[in-house]
């Protein structure tokens, strides 16, 4: 099947097998290896990307479902050499160790902050519940997300991360992470 997808600002048109997962398409066809695979049951969240501005686990989305969509990965967050505030906050708060969960964790955190611009600790913990980290014990991740919330107010993220409530949930058939 032929699909046309815009990933991190570049438009691609490709023939893909119907069974190909979005994460396989990103990694194997586009070389977007910043997005990683950590499990095969969509529990770990390491593969989280944004599909039309909403976080999805890209192991649970078929590449064909992304046809006509805009995908943002961890590689597309920084603009003009400037880190996204959530990326910076992860660095500033030592919110990563091995870094394998980090791309997914950052993408999910951005989604969380789009829905709740000032989450308390519990809201952060629940908001990133679908993303597993084995190194940090989560404490510094929670700190980083809350820190970023203060930095980002009001709406300091790149354009791709801004969307209105009305736009949310428009991706029928796409599982929200």
């Amino acid at each position: 099947m032929r699909i046309t997808v815009t990933v991190d600002g570049t438009t691609y048109s490709d023939e893909v097998e119907p069974r190909m997962l979005l994460v396989q398409y990103l990694r194997e066809r586009l070389g977007k290896v910043g997005t990683v695979v950590g499990c095969d049951t969509s529990n770990c969240g390491a593969c989280t990307v944004h599909l039309d501005g909403h976080s999805v686990k890209s192991c649970s989305v078929l590449a064909v479902q992304a046809d006509g969509c805009e995908v943002t990965t961890i590689e597309g967050l920084a603009r003009d050499g400037q880190l996204h505030p959530v990326q910076r906050a992860f660095h500033d708060n030592h919110a990563l160790q091995c870094g394998f969960c980090t791309p997914g964790m950052i993408m999910q955190s951005i989604d969380l902050l789009a829905e709740n611009s000032d989450p308390d600790e519990q809201a952060v913990r629940e908001g990133i519940e679908g993303n597993l980290c084995r190194c940090t014990g989560y404490q510094n991740i929670v700190r980083a997300v809350r820190d970023a919330a203060h930095e980002m107010r009001p709406g300091a993220g790149p354009e791709a991360e801004r969307f209105s409530d009305a736009e949310m949930g428009t991706q029928a058939g796409v599982r929200r992470s």
């Binding site: 695979v37 950590g38 660095h91 952060v124």
Partner: protein, 813 residues
């Protein structure tokens, strides 16, 4: 003698990590990201049977499938694959089965590789697995430790004649370090006995293991998600008979290990053999399900504990009898893991008589091996649980009982009943700080008040005053334990002509932050900017020697080697600087990156010397044009971090639900190079230890199938499952190394498990409960409350602790 780092600006500072820039932007080099010209992909067919003879394998259909280049079975590799190495024969008569990477005639655990397909794409390789037909003749499974050593037990390896691999004993009377434990027990005023079960755990690093082998160069290059690139290279050479100098191993970015990547794996050997055979690069990346089923597991012991004491609380003896589950094979250090605990059961206490006996047992389950703490969490759990049980028996406050028996700070260095010499420690200071942060007395009052009014939610206080031995290790101690290698580490410094510095380390980081910490240490030592230091590691070509990263050894051993190399750089630079300044080397002092003529302001920088040796136009006679240096450091002793952890747990007596209300960890890891990194290590360690107490268990059904084979069933905690922790430190420098540092990687995991279980038992002890088996799921806690249960499996032993979707009847003990 290596001198301590100069008192500079860097060591002790919470430097943000150098490593992060790549990791937060996705510019990563995980092994699975590698893509080489002509690269092929491999998939493994694994046995669904735990114990069976392979009677036939038909690969004809798979060979015909599109894109398939090769299909191999164990019979094809039998002559070339050798036997996977076990580097730790703990006794001379240890029984060790042949350990083929790919099963040849028989499979001994579910998940063992029986065939492999190499194809153009990963998808084609996976598809072709369907075309392989294996006939199995089932054999009886061996799952339970106690049943496995019964006289009429079915045998995992019939040719060994037994399921017992080895029995390892330490006895203080025999060793001359203490009294006879049976006499101590016989004459004791109080004796407490308990049996604890250390459930089977899975390291569950986030990055699944991946291997790429490129055979096209003069050296065969292997990229692997491993903690141990140097050990891997040596073992590939020794296992396969390939010349060591023809193999290069690279550990690129590695996504966590926790001991789980301290291994020489079947998959590494098979990928190596097939890439070499086909003459093209081959990649293999495991799925999470494969990882959980076949990468080595951890813990899995039965611990029979007997403690003897006087009525006043003085402990007089400790007897430890263990059964340890090896699984089906002995992997790299499998048999030594429980033995590492042998030195730690006496913990921080002065115990006059001690006996330790461990029997290692084969079962038809995934092999066990190192998992964060390796032997020491088991020991710490058992002794800290016993101290609480003894305190209860004596009617003493458990902290008072501990203090009565622990080594006082003025008694260091202290040689223990198990022969170790603890170099330093201050248990009083750490405990005082923890009590203060925790409000120990206030929480005890609240506990009494809730008990008084029969609150449905009861409060428990759990204590863990732990120490551990880490910084593995003095080579001669490892030799005395029959370990197959030394415990030294290698470091080197390359001074570039522009004054920049390359540091080479044999440590192999996989999340620990060595690049940052080593840069801080070298920046201070050589007086160069932090940014001017580049740390190279994880490639046998750039870091030619090393023993890699595990056992909290990198800072105490690896960084010490780097520091020692830096000392040599300064020594080599000194005569050249003297020549440049036209003075005697004896008149020079080195500080802040400059050689200064004593008593003057005449100086030259180390960067100037680096440039001078590059030009080499005017050097003193007989001096080589290089100030580069390397060093190998072998510690004289382990390091002994310690600390006091206090946990307040609320137990809902109507549902069995446990909520951690507060957790205070005061750790003493000696001098700290980077407090930010140390705190991060403690946080992560705590969660892994707490997860053992509350959530995680690898469960097998009665046919030997792993029921927790996905992350939906094996409960790695999420952020929502964990509280925030209060962490602090006391600082008693190690006297064993010049930096004064101790290891920190495993401390949190070692300390936290007993703190949590002690808190749970403390909350419901008045309801007749004296133990809850781990993981303390709501069902198990509730069951314990209902029955006043004393240490039992039963309901809740199944996957997900009875909360999952699997049939409760299927849970094997």
């Amino acid at each position: 003698m290596t001198t301590a780092a100069e008192p500079g600006q860097e060591v002790g500072k919470g430097r943000l990590r150098k490593e992060d820039a790549r990791l937060i932007t996705g510019r990563t080099r995980w092994t699975d990201n590698m893509n080489l010209p002509g690269m092929l992909h491999m998939a493994m067919l694994r046995s669904p049977m735990a114990h069976a003879r392979i009677t036939n394998i038909d690969t004809s259909e798979a060979r015909q499938m599109p894109g398939v280049l090769a299909v191999v079975t164990g019979a094809d590799l039998a002559d070339s694959q050798g036997s996977l190495p076990c580097a730790w024969p703990i006794t001379e008569d240890m029984k060790s089965p042949d350990a083929p990477s790919m099963a040849v005639n028989q499979v001994n655990f579910a998940g063992e590789v029986v065939a492999a397909v190499v194809a153009r794409s990963a998808a084609e390789a996976a598809d072709a697995l369907e075309g392989i037909d294996v006939d199995y003749d089932e054999l009886p499974v061996v799952l339970d430790l106690e049943e496995a050593i019964a006289d009429d037990a079915d045998l995992v390896h019939p040719d060994l004649g037994t399921n017992k691999s080895a029995t390892w004993i330490f006895d203080s009377a025999e060793a001359g370090t203490g009294g006879a434990v049976d006499e101590a027990i016989g004459s004791a005023e109080v004796v407490v006995e308990r049996t604890f079960r250390q459930q089977r755990l899975i390291p569950a690093f986030m990055e699944p293991r991946s291997i790429v082998v490129d055979p096209t160069g003069e050296q065969v290059t292997m990229w692997s998600a491993t903690q141990v690139p140097h050990i891997l290279r040596l073992m590939l050479a020794m296992t396969l008979g390939v010349p060591e100098h023809k193999v290069r191993v690279i550990a690129p970015d590695v996504g966590g290990g926790f001991g789980g990547k301290l291994q020489v794996t079947p998959e590494e050997v098979i990928t190596f053999l097939l890439a070499r055979e086909l003459g093209r690069p081959v990649k293999y990346t495991e799925t999470r399900s494969e990882s959980l089923a076949s990468a080595h597991h951890g813990r899995d012991q039965l611990q029979k504990m007997t403690i003897a004491a006087q009525r006043d609380g003085t402990v007089t003896g400790l007897k430890v009898e263990l059964l340890a589950d090896m699984g089906a094979y002995l992997r790299l250090v499998t048999p030594g893991v429980p033995i590492l605990g042998a030195f730690m059961y006496n913990a921080i206490y002065k115990i006059p008589a001690y006996h330790f006996a461990c029997t290692n047992v084969f079962t038809t389950k995934t092999p066990t091996d190192a998992y964060r703490g390796a032997g020491r969490p088991e020991a710490t759990f058992a002794i800290e649980r016993m101290m609480d049980e003894l305190a209860n028996e004596l009617g003493m406050d458990p902290l008072e009982l501990r203090e009565k028996n622990w080594i006082k700070h003025e008694e260091f260095p202290y040689t223990t009943v198990s022969t170790l010499t603890y170099d330093s420690g201050n248990y009083e200071a750490a405990t005082a700080r923890a009590k203060e942060l925790f409000d120990y007395d206030g929480l005890r009052r609240e506990q009494a008040e809730r008990r008084q009014r029969g609150d449905t939610v009861q409060l428990g206080i759990g204590i863990s005053t732990f120490t551990e031995m880490c910084g593995l290790a003095p080579s001669r101690v490892l030799g005395s334990l029959s370990y197959g290698a030394g415990g030294w580490e290698y470091g080197a410094i390359r001074m570039l002509p522009t004054g920049k510095v390359e540091v080479i380390t044999g440590s192999s980081a996989h999340g620990q932050g060595h690049e940052t910490a080593w840069s801080q240490i070298v920046a201070d030592k050589l007086g160069v900017p932090f940014e001017d230091v580049e740390v190279l590691h994880g490639d046998t070509q750039s870091s030619p020697r090393g023993l890699d990263t595990y056992g909290s050894r990198s800072l105490t051993v690896g960084a010490m080697a780097v520091l020692s190399a830096a000392d040599k750089v300064i020594e080599k630079a000194k005569p050249i600087a003297a020549h440049m300044l036209e003075c005697s080397p004896d008149d020079l002092e080195f500080s802040g990156g400059k050689f200064t003529v004593r008593g003057t302001d005449t100086s030259t920088g180390i960067a100037d010397v680096a440039l001078a040796v590059f030009a080499a136009h005017d050097l003193p006679d007989g001096v080589e044009p290089s100030i580069d240096a390397d060093a190998t450091f072998d510690p004289e002793n382990f390091s002994f971090p310690h600390g006091t952890h206090l946990c307040a747990a609320e137990v809902d007596t109507e549902t069995g639900q446990v909520r951690l209300r507060s957790y205070v960890a005061v750790d003493d890891v000696g001098k700290v190079v980077n407090p930010l990194i140390v705190e991060g290590q403690v946080h992560g360690g705590l969660v892994q230890g707490i997860a053992q107490a509350l959530f995680e268990e690898a469960v097998y059904d009665e046919s030997g199938t792993l029921m927790t084979g996905t992350l939906a069933d094996y409960l790695v905690p999420s952020a929502a499952d964990m509280p925030s922790f209060t962490t602090d430190r006391t600082e008693t420098p190690s006297t064993t190394n010049a930096l004064g540092v101790k290891g920190v990687g495993e401390a949190g995991t070692i300390a936290s498990t007993p703190a949590v279980v002690n808190a749970i038992v403390d909350a419901i002890r008045h309801m007749g409960v004296n133990d809850v088996e781990m993981p303390c799921t709501p069902m198990r806690v509730w069951q314990a409350i209902q029955g006043g249960a004393q240490s039992a499996a039963g309901p809740g032993a199944e996957s997900g602790g009875g909360m999952g979707s699997l049939d409760a009847e299927g849970g094997a003990r």
